[in-house]
């Protein structure tokens, strides 16, 4: 158990995987000499050379396409998109190629690649560098989807991703890179596909992932001060996802909400809420509520940017209502 950062945990996972398996390669913009736009791959080119740590031209579609071909022919590529916002250029290679090859070809040709990228707000990076686009991925059969919130998960989920036979989209959060936490390389927080209860509680369930987990935990602390005991679950893996623990928790508490940083309409939160409502309806005291990003592009003004995504306060107020039916001041 060592204290490290989210950034370094990811770097460590890449390093350990590359040392353990010579077929692991990295390909992406600035992953080599520059060490990664956010410093995640720093020094790896010195350790593994330019054939395994490949600085790519600014050609996102072909970067993902090359990773598909490399995965088909025996390598285990980790392609990097500097920002998840650039995934739009690659959705054909990702959703029509990586995701569907195994199926279209009757099981013959798997694509064991990992697409690492990062998303989210927090740096006044404006509309094209701040998005949370995991909903597009979730809607694509054939793609696994992982979004680590903790340092230990950053390491282990990436190592686990690198053992998967199918393409994994691994989305980091730019606001978490400098976060510190404990890394235990021997012990993952949970198995692949398993949600993890980060804080148990019996009054309601807050389901979240990535950076919003931390806002949710902060909200839970404040809820505790009001005598409300929230169970906070980290979804971690969005595909595959074992729904059983979620169903259990929702049935147990009868109250739940889902928190995402992504634009709320058509979001992962909508999907989780709809799924859980279907199976937990008879146990629900209240509707499962969604709290997410506003239905707008992200503005550059730091003030507006902050206001466009959920805060611990909003989560707290919404949760408090779910339990007490006490309407928050802004909902009067």
């Amino acid at each position: 158990m060592t204290e490290t950062t989210y950034r370094d945990a990811i770097r460590q996972a890449l390093l350990d995987a590359m040392q353990a398996d010579p077929s692991v390669i990295l390909i992406g913009e600035e992953v080599g000499l520059y060490g990664g736009a956010y410093g995640v791959t720093k020094g790896l080119i010195d350790l593994f050379g330019a054939e395994r740590v490949i600085d790519a031209p600014i050609s996102e579609p072909a970067i993902v396409g090359a990773a598909v071909g490399a995965a088909m022919t025996g390598l285990r590529p980790v392609a990097e998109l500097m920002y998840v916002d650039f995934i739009g250029m690659t959705m054909d290679q990702l959703a029509n190629q990586a995701a569907k090859s195994r199926y279209m070809f009757g099981g013959q040709i798997g694509v064991p690649m990992v697409l690492r990228t990062q998303g989210g707000t927090g740096r006044s990076a404006a509309a094209q560098h701040s998005q949370s686009l995991e909903a597009w991925v979730l809607h694509t059969p054939g793609l696994r989807l992982v979004m680590p919130a903790t340092v230990n998960d950053a390491y282990h989920l990436l190592r686990q991703s690198l053992t998967q036979p199918d393409p994994v989209v691994f989305i980091e959060h730019k606001g978490l890179y400098t976060m510190k936490g404990d890394l235990d390389v021997a012990t993952p927080d949970g198995a692949w596909g398993q949600p993890v209860i980060r804080r148990d509680g019996h009054d309601l369930v807050i389901l979240s992932y990535s950076r919003m987990l931390h806002e949710s935990l902060a909200a839970a602390e404040r809820l505790a001060e009001s005598g409300v005991d929230a169970c906070v679950i980290d979804l971690r893996c969005l595909n595959p996802m074992d729904e059983a623990p979620l169903i259990e928790a929702v049935k147990r508490t009868g109250r739940a909400m889902v928190v995402t940083e992504g634009v709320v309409t058509g979001s992962v939160a909508s999907d989780i809420a709809a799924r859980l409502t279907e199976v937990c309806f008879d146990w629900l005291e209240e509707p499962i509520l969604r709290v997410g990003g506003e239905d707008i592009p992200i503005p550059v003004s730091p003030l507006l940017e902050r206001a466009s995504i959920p805060t611990a306060t909003l989560i707290h107020d919404t949760a408090l209502w779910l339990v007490t039916r006490k309407a928050p001041p802004w909902a009067a």
């Binding site: 054939e51 598909v68 071909g69 088909m72 029509n96 195994r102 279209m104 036979p165």
Partner: protein, 342 residues
């Protein structure tokens, strides 16, 4: 039959003839209402691609576009399994999930046919990285049409191949049309090899009516590619028929068709083999007859083959042994069924 020895041109003739016969049977399959859909793209007129497939070696890999039957037969495909796939049958190459536009075969190096114009091109860049890194000596070839010359991902891929000295070849089968668009209506400058050169590739253009000319160009490009000097080959051919099975070709004139079809690589090869005494007319007739029989059998096989079981639908989305998609009936049953309520 046994081929006369040392006669690669004759073997290429035979492969071209088999391709044509195969494609004719695909047309029949459709007319009989036995094909899975009507998106069937015949490569009749483009058989000289065998000049390229013949320059490849065992272990080399490739991707194709939607008009890839000929390429795959050139690399050794079993026509019966191909035809079964085109009919959407369980024992087709892809278990009836892919169809004509998505045939693949790991064993023969076919990394997959693609229905996205340009979609399979960058995959050879990745394959090239694999082969470069392992010094395996393999090459990978992307086959695509003139239409893909308008897809940006092609140039991204060419640039990477040149920059990283990858053992790959970009093979453009220019059949003069992208669907209903003749190439002069899609390209601001029709000198495609100049584009490849500008991106740093070895580039060549060969007469698609002359399989041996294609083969000569392909051989030298393949040798260079194996050495880390990637190449581009344009096969200047003609699409004898419509784009797909439903196309009546309103966008081209009968004269244009007559002229184009005169550039028949099979007729040309046959004439040359006869001229050079490499084969007698009887030899060639026998080859033709054998191809016809072989493809009749493939057609019959496909028609008689079993459709896939419904349960196979959920297989192959993910690898065996990993969580599979939950069938909707199962999800709804868990909500609707007994015991699902408080």
């Amino acid at each position: 039959m046994t081929l006369p020895t040392n006669s690669a041109p004759l073997a290429r003739y035979r492969t071209m003839r088999r391709i044509r016969s195969f494609e004719e049977r695909v047309g029949e399959l459709f007319l009989k209402g036995e094909s899975a859909g009507s998106m069937l793209h015949l490569s009749i007129g483009e058989e000289a691609v065998v000049g390229m497939t013949d320059a490849m070696q065992p272990g080399d890999t490739f991707t194709t576009h939607h008009r890839g039957h000929g390429v795959f037969l050139g690399r050794g495909a079993d026509p019966a399994r191909m035809m079964a796939e085109i009919a959407g049958k369980e024992d087709g190459y892809c278990r009836g999930k892919g169809g004509s536009m998505h045939i693949a075969d790991r064993a023969l190096g076919h990394l997959g046919a693609n229905a996205i114009v340009g979609g399979g091109i960058p995959h050879i860049v990745g394959a090239g990285i694999s082969y470069r890194n392992t010094r395996s000596g393999q090459i990978s070839v992307a086959f695509f049409g003139d239409g893909a010359m308008s897809q940006g991902i092609l140039y991204e891929s060419m640039n990477m191949a040149a920059l990283w000295h990858l053992p790959v070849i970009f093979c453009c089968i220019n059949n003069q049309y992208g669907m209903g668009t003749r190439v002069d209506r899609s390209a601001g400058n029709r000198d495609f090899p100049a584009r490849a050169t500008a991106f740093g590739l070895n580039a060549a253009r060969a007469d698609g009516a002359d399989v041996e000319a294609v083969h000569d160009a392909a051989r030298s490009l393949a040798a260079a590619a194996r050495d880390g000097r990637p190449g581009y080959l344009e096969i200047d051919a003609y699409r004898f028929f419509g784009h797909a099975r439903m196309d009546k070709s309103p966008y081209r004139t009968p004269e244009e068709e007559v002229e184009g079809r005169a550039r028949d690589p099979i007729a040309r090869a046959r004439a040359r083999l006869a001229e050079t005494d490499a084969a007698t007319a009887a030899d060639l007739d026998r080859i033709d007859g054998d191809a016809a029989v072989e493809m009749d059998l493939a057609l019959a096989h496909a028609i008689g083959a079993k459709p896939p079981a419904l349960s196979t639908m959920f297989e192959d989305v993910y690898a065996p042994g990993t969580p599979a998609p939950r069938p909707q009936a199962e999800r709804l049953a868990a909500i609707l069924g007994e015991g699902a309520r408080a």
